[in-house]
Amino acid sequence: MSSFREKLHRKATATGLLSFSAIFEAVEGFIYGPSELADGAPHIHDHLEIKRFMSMAIVALLPTTVAAVVFWGPRVLLVVLVSYLAGGLVEVAFAALRKRPIEEGFLVTGLIFPLVLPPTVPLWIVAVGIIFGVFFGKEVFGGTGRNIFNPALVGRLFITIAFPKAMSTSWQAPFTDAITSATPLSLYKTGQEITPYVDLLFGNVAGSMGEVFSIGIIVGGIFLLLTRVGNWRIPVFYVGSVFVLSLIGNIFLPELIAPPLFQVLAGSLLFGAFFMVTDPVTSPYNNESKIIFGVFAGFLTIVIRSFSGYTEGVMFSIILMNALAPLIDHFVMKAKYKPLESV
């Protein structure tokens, strides 16, 4: 250990300020890397750690984040900053209170959250949303690993309901200042209008900041699945079930149910499928459950998009499925492990 580091370490522990030492520990681990050794067998360990695990998710989010900055200018970065600062405050406070290390999972939540907001979102709403999301979505359940709902989604859902005007009517297409209420999904809902697929792919449509640039989301998402940080089952079955269900539905109810490729590319489906349902904490444990989760989420998405007052159903369906995940696991485990024979 270098002497500078030692001095800092002494200072940090001597102050007695819990929040300070939590931050110090996080920064120390961040810069100097892990120093602990294996205690007994196994004597060796995989080099993947949670910091890198979460960093991979951030790397996967980079294409769409960069696109957002290009589309809507540097204000996007400001939104991201507010999200990190406000949410980080809650995170650090709880880490200090629990005397636990700061969990790196927040680094992903703090970036996902601004990306699912409309580009015109007021900064104070960003702060309110992320604070609510981290507090009620994660910390009240006991922190990372124990939360039932995706914290970013909890925050998003809260501000959608609390501030409906700011959240669902003031959209903005890239490179424009004009405020519109028309997203590709709402255009279909009102007049069965299909936005050109090229626009949907390149993100030339109104929508949440990180959700329009489909190509970037797909590239980042595939990267996430290839690194094994995201399990492929839920995204594949989620998108697959949306595709198949809308393929069938579009034949019978074309005025309500949009065609499959449009369903996949419009709205937040791809973003949700690659970056939200891949959150291992809030998705089921079993491989079989993951498949059920994906199929059901797809079904709910189509139902909400087509038959409800809302134009978008991804957020609701994921949060509903988050709640059902433990139940699905329960039944899958029951089916997988037969009850013991009585002796």
Binding site: Y32, G33, P34, S35, A41, P42, H45, D46, L48, K51
Partner: protein, 491 residues
């Protein structure tokens, strides 16, 4: 015939690490002193049959008990018995005989007591004699449940053995090299060894499973195997822990080893390639278990390679000339995943030793190490770009964090259970029928779950703890099934 399986669920392929042992074998020098534990390999501790002060020759039986399930142990050097006392071997207390060398080890001395009745023309020997040589040589202790002979070397009888499985896998990160253990010059000895085992275990079919990485070896062996041999040869992926009988037996035979039992209990004897060569050496050349070829691998050794060593040599004496430096390295016996770290350098090599690993105790992994490309990092995930040889050390490579349920542990689990779920029950002390139902006792303690965990949770330790607590609470590890009645060698 059904399709031959070369893989099974779970497991992880460790490959391309720094410090891999070169495929050559060096003879070690004669140690000044050897410590011969009275229990080495399978069986109970035997009784010393020599007394302090007595002179012994190398190869002489110095411990034996024909009444208990055990195999004799031998003096590996000629010399005087100076002490019989309790020592520690890999965390296990046991009695050992200490011999101060005066003459020499077999390499330099012609006076080794060879086993009576051995013959290079072994086909003329009857199977009784073959069994006797396997028992008296101590080779019978090398299988996990013993090699059955007419003596009490195993809980089952020779006639009860249905199959012999010979495993040649390099499934550990720095495994001993098959090319060193089984050079081309010994192919025919190796196959003879299997033929000998088939004579001793007349009802048994013979199967060899070789690492898929050794295509040449598989081809050469298949040319040496005659049609009349009835030896099945197959390639098996060298994933860890496929060399464990709990995994290998279901993979090869489609029969599971009931939890709490061994392969011998279902009539299968599992041996390593080196054990088969020892069988040959005992029967054809009369050599008892006084030497062993082990790998000395890892960056801690100046020249990682294989060394033929006398049984009983202390690890300190064996390693002192070969280590780059003792302080900065951890020396681990036999397996980096499940082996014991050597605490005292006095600990001896035993006849079932396979390897010594010396790996750096790395306390500093480099600034911002989690952000680098990881050109020398090993990971189950694909989050690194290992283009060169991967480094291996004792660092945790992370800090302990909450379980995210990434399911890596369940994906690699060779027992097909879900440590990500089970370990939560243990942490919350929920010891009930549910854990039994979720098959916690199927855990074979291979430690792979702890290896892959990105949250650095000691998952395997929690599983062990869970099994222990469950047993304490009165839940049994022994499967209650119909086949239980048919298990062999179980009272």
């Amino acid at each position: 015939m059904s399709k031959i399986r070369n893989s099974t669920r779970g497991g992880y392929r460790f490959k391309n690490f720094k410090g891999k042992p070169a495929a050559k074998v060096e003879n070690s020098t004669v140690p000044g002193k050897v410590t011969i534990p009275l229990r080495q390999g399978f069986g109970t501790e035997v009784e010393p049959v020599v007394t302090v002060g007595e002179h012994v020759s190398s190869g002489q039986i110095i411990g034996r008990n024909d009444e208990t399930i055990s195999s004799p142990v031998h003096a590996s050097v000629a010399g005087n018995v100076t002490d019989i006392r309790e020592i520690l071997v890999a965390g296990d207390k046991q009695q050992a005989i200490i011999i101060e060398t005066d003459a020499g080890f077999r390499f330099s001395n012609e006076s080794t007591s060879l086993l009576a009745g051995h013959s290079s023309d072994w086909k003329t020997l009857d199977s009784e004699r073959l069994g006797e040589l396997i028992y008296l040589s101590g080779v019978s202790a090398l299988a996990s449940g013993g090699i059955p002979t007419q003596y009490r070397s195993s809980p089952i009888e020779p006639m009860e053995v249905e199959s012999i499985l010979v495993l040649g896998l390099e499934d550990e990160p720095l495994s001993p090299s098959l090319n060193a253990i089984l050079p081309a010059s010994r192919y025919s000895d190796f196959l003879d060894g299997i033929r000998m085992l088939k004579r001793v275990l007349p009802e048994a079919s013979a199967h060899i499973a070789i690492d898929t990485a050794h295509k040449d070896l598989i081809n050469s062996l298949s040319q040496h195997i005659g049609d009349e041999d009835e030896i099945e040869l197959r390639a098996v992926k060298g994933k860890f822990p496929y060399s464990w009988e709990e995994v290998a037996v279901p993979m090869v035979f489609g029969k599971r080893v009931p939890s709490g039992h061994q392969a011998v209990n279902i009539g299968i004897v599992v041996v390593s390639v080196q054990t088969v060569l020892h069988v040959f050496d005992a029967i054809a050349n009369g050599i008892p278990m006084i030497e062993r070829t082990i790998a000395m691998a890892g960056e801690g050794f100046a020249e990682p390679q294989h060394v033929r060593v006398p049984v009983g040599v202390s690890i300190g004496e064996l390693t002192k000339e070969r280590l780059v430096g003792r302080e900065r390295y951890r020396i681990v016996r036999d397996s980096l995943l499940t082996g014991h770290a050597v605490g005292e350098d006095e600990e001896p090599i035993v006849r079932v030793s396979r390897a010594l690993y010396a790996i750096p105790e790395l306390t500093f992994t480099g600034k911002f190490s989690f952000m680098g490309p990881g050109t020398d990092s090993d990971s189950y995930s694909k989050t690194f770009i290992p283009i060169g040889k991967k480094k291996i050390d004792t660092n945790l490579h992370g800090e302990e964090r909450a379980c995210l349920s990434c399911s890596f542990c369940a994906e690699v689990c060779p027992a097909g259970i879900q440590p990500n779920i089970l370990h939560r029950y243990v942490i919350n002390e929920l010891f009930s029928e549910t854990l039994l139902q979720f098959k916690i006792f199927d855990c074979i303690e291979c430690n792979l779950c702890s290896y892959v965990c990105p949250s650095k949770i000691p998952v395997a330790n929690l599983m062990r703890e869970g099994k222990k607590r469950m047993t304490d609470e009165g839940f049994s590890s022994h499967e209650v099934t119909e086949s239980h009645q048919k298990l062999k060698g179980v009272q």
